[in-house]
């Protein structure tokens, strides 16, 4: 079954509101083997919606529409669909009763525009909405289904989950189509290196209904293997050789094969399983590393805390970095990173200490120490070393990438992987 989506609203077009409905729709449709092939956002304009319906019904089994069902003059979805299907408006008694009852309960008088919400085109099946005043509408055109839902996320999700998906799934069963997806999340390696040097040419694996996608994002590069077939087992089997190949060739860099995992979640899980604790000594990340770890529920099982030593004096006062070391090597140096990591572990009693010191930018760079230069320190009683990375010019990006590389560093060492992130070499190993 092929679907297209129209999200309606000037606020989406001009960017006052981020369109989270379309991502949610994409996920739930994909999950139910309904392929979304186009997602369109338009403003509150009659003719544009008319044209979109005319065009999309040629390619779609179902057109889903969200938004534009409110009671104000700029809400065009209901009038347009009424006109488009040559219908007239009639009152939907259950919706009217629901509106009156709810306003009564809250002691607010019912206005004419509230009651207008209970008027629906006689060409549709009403999808009764218990979360708001705008009902959903289900139209069966000669060649296509059209489903209109409110734009308020909670109402839209409720109607999709309870009403629309069950109806679409029932129709979908008549045309058997299964898609299978497998994810790999990697860290500490760039997209091209991962593709060219580790995984290599996969063209002999690919065939009809089997695809590999590279999804780079700030946390690393994810891979999606997807296969489809009219038989569930066949779809799954088709993907196996490619999955095995990726697992074997990119192993060190893969931190999870669970779609929803993030790197901080996996590191917290790993340390908790190993019964290890970690503490952080942060300079250029300014607290972001600790914050990323504590974004994970249950991180208190492995995270103790640490120091934010942004000012150099605090590196001395909190982290025992001698002033002479700061003067001789500078704050952004492997020597300082090493001391920071060891001291924070000692002072907190954590099994692992990890540190960051670098030049986040945009200012502060020199020829020898450019913006984006970061040193990491690692200490766990057994191992004690520093590592260098060179990132880019944008401050927030550099901070985020630094925190993630620090997490990946901990992951790799604790998993016994000898390659460091981005194939960095350990410095000053003790």
């Amino acid at each position: 079954m092929k679907a297209s989506l129209i999200t309606i609203g000037d606020e989406l077009l001009i960017g006052d509101t981020v369109n989270t409905n379309s991502a949610w729709m994409g996920r739930i449709l994909t999950h139910h083997n309904i392929g979304l092939y186009e997602s369109l956002t338009i403003g509150d304009e009659r003719q544009v919606l008319f044209d979109a319906l005319d065009r999309l019904r040629k390619h779609s089994d179902v057109i889903l529409i969200t938004g534009g069902l409110g009671p104000t003059h700029d809400d065009i979805t209901k009038p347009v669909l009424t006109e488009y299907t040559g219908a007239k408006l009639i009152e939907h008694q259950p919706t009217k009763d629901f509106i009156v009852r709810n306003f009564d309960k809250r002691g607010i008088p019912v206005s004419p525009s509230n009651l207008q919400q209970a008027m629906v085109p006689d060409s549709c099946e009403v999808l009764f909405n218990t979360r708001g005043t705008a009902p959903g509408m289900w139209f069966e055109l000669s060649d296509c289904l059209v489903v209109a839902l409110p734009g308020v996320p909670a109402e839209m999700k409720h109607l999709m989950t309870e009403k629309v998906i069950p109806k679409l799934a029932a129709l979908n069963e008549k045309v058997p189509f299964y898609s299978y997806r497998h994810y790999f999340h990697t860290a500490g390696i760039g997209e091209s290196t991962l593709s060219d040097m580790e995984i290599g040419d996969v063209s002999n694996f690919l065939k009809t209904g089997l695809q590999l996608a590279f999804l780079p994002h700030t946390h690393g590069v994810s891979l999606r293997v997807s296969s489809s077939s009219d038989n569930q087992e066949v779809a799954r089997e088709k993907a196996k050789p490619l999955i095995t190949h990726i697992r074997k060739s990119a192993g060190d860099h893969i931190y999870s094969e669970n779609e929803k995992d993030t790197l901080p979640v996996c590191v917290v899980r790993l340390l908790t399983e190993l019964r290890k604790t970690v503490a952080v000594a942060e300079s250029c990340t300014g607290g972001l590393l600790g914050s990323m770890i504590t974004d994970v529920p249950g991180s208190s099982a492995c995270f103790l805390g640490g120091m934010i030593a942004y000012q150099n004096e605090l590196k001395t006062r909190f982290l025992d970095v001698p002033e002479t070391v700061l003067e001789k090597f500078g704050a952004v140096s492997p020597e300082v990173a090493m001391i920071m990591a060891k001291t924070v572990a000692k002072k907190t009693g954590a099994s692992i200490g990890v540190s960051t010191t670098g030049i986040a930018g945009p200012g502060g760079g020199t020829e020898h120490k450019p913006v984006g230069l970061v040193y990491f320190g690692y200490y766990d009683g057994e191992r004690h070393f520093a590592m260098k990375q060179l990132f880019f010019r944008e401050r927030k990006f550099n901070k985020e990438r630094t925190a993630l590389v620090a997490l990946d560093l901990v992951r790799r060492v604790q998993c016994g992987i000898s390659r460091l992130p981005y194939d960095a070499k350990p410095i000053l190993t003790k």
Copy 2:
């Protein structure tokens, strides 16, 4: 000037990634008087992009495309645009040099697919990208401009701001239409309270071409006054009475009237101007408060650092919270927050110490101390008090809101505003 937007990527359609590029694009285009009338998301499929180009060029002065410019086989934008414009690929020397230089610097070998990034269709003007390996492309078709940009947000935004917008704005100047926008950013007050209790009914201010929008977001509530006219001065004058009214009625809560400001930026600016320094003692925020401050370039002028005392033992060891106090009042208490704030100021030598201790959730709540309960401590030598807030159930939201309220607390006290965020009362004032 009418624009349409195509965002490309299976990950957007199936909802692996929320499409934030389209909202950002909508904002920047609107800001420059370029109307976005359609925003389309499609997958990595040649024919679909061909069809979209054919259709959109009929209605658009410019088609903006993001995504699909990466080096892997599923990136279709460059091949399709090459074919669509009947061009051939040629090497773009500056991009090639940039790639080689950057990989050299980082000590990573350049792969063939990296070098492929420097190949561009000879039908376009290259928009040189200093943030990544994929250059942007500017095509002038007979009836329409087509601009292709990378999908990575930082790279796309950089190219839009530095290259595309200046070129479009120059073309746009030929059609006189002025819209004037004025923003207010507020913190420490909810949307309905701000609207109903502070600003009140504004219907007598509003008229044709003058609007007021409430834009709630995680950092607070912003207000946008917008007016339009064919004359720049008229548009500006029309908005004045409403702007004056809002400034007067919502004054304490407004931290900036500059569209691009964020609360951390304003707090760093304020403290730097006042020549004050701040240090943080973080429990439930886990480093996020420090991270937010250090997101601001130049924050080293006022931010010294601090302690992340996630584990209770570290509250004693690092922040001198007596074990007896922890036992008697619990870690999440005004007493503990007060000691944390004072100790961190004393130990770092900062003029202001601010602390957070709370229950971020989802677990760990009790009847008396539910999830979302947070105590803040404030110390500046002169003032020393705690403050309570009760947020919601979601961990990351609670952390973010806590860090922002801590910043707003510092802003209010330092600006001499007696009302605390969300009208909280000071506790245990010393």
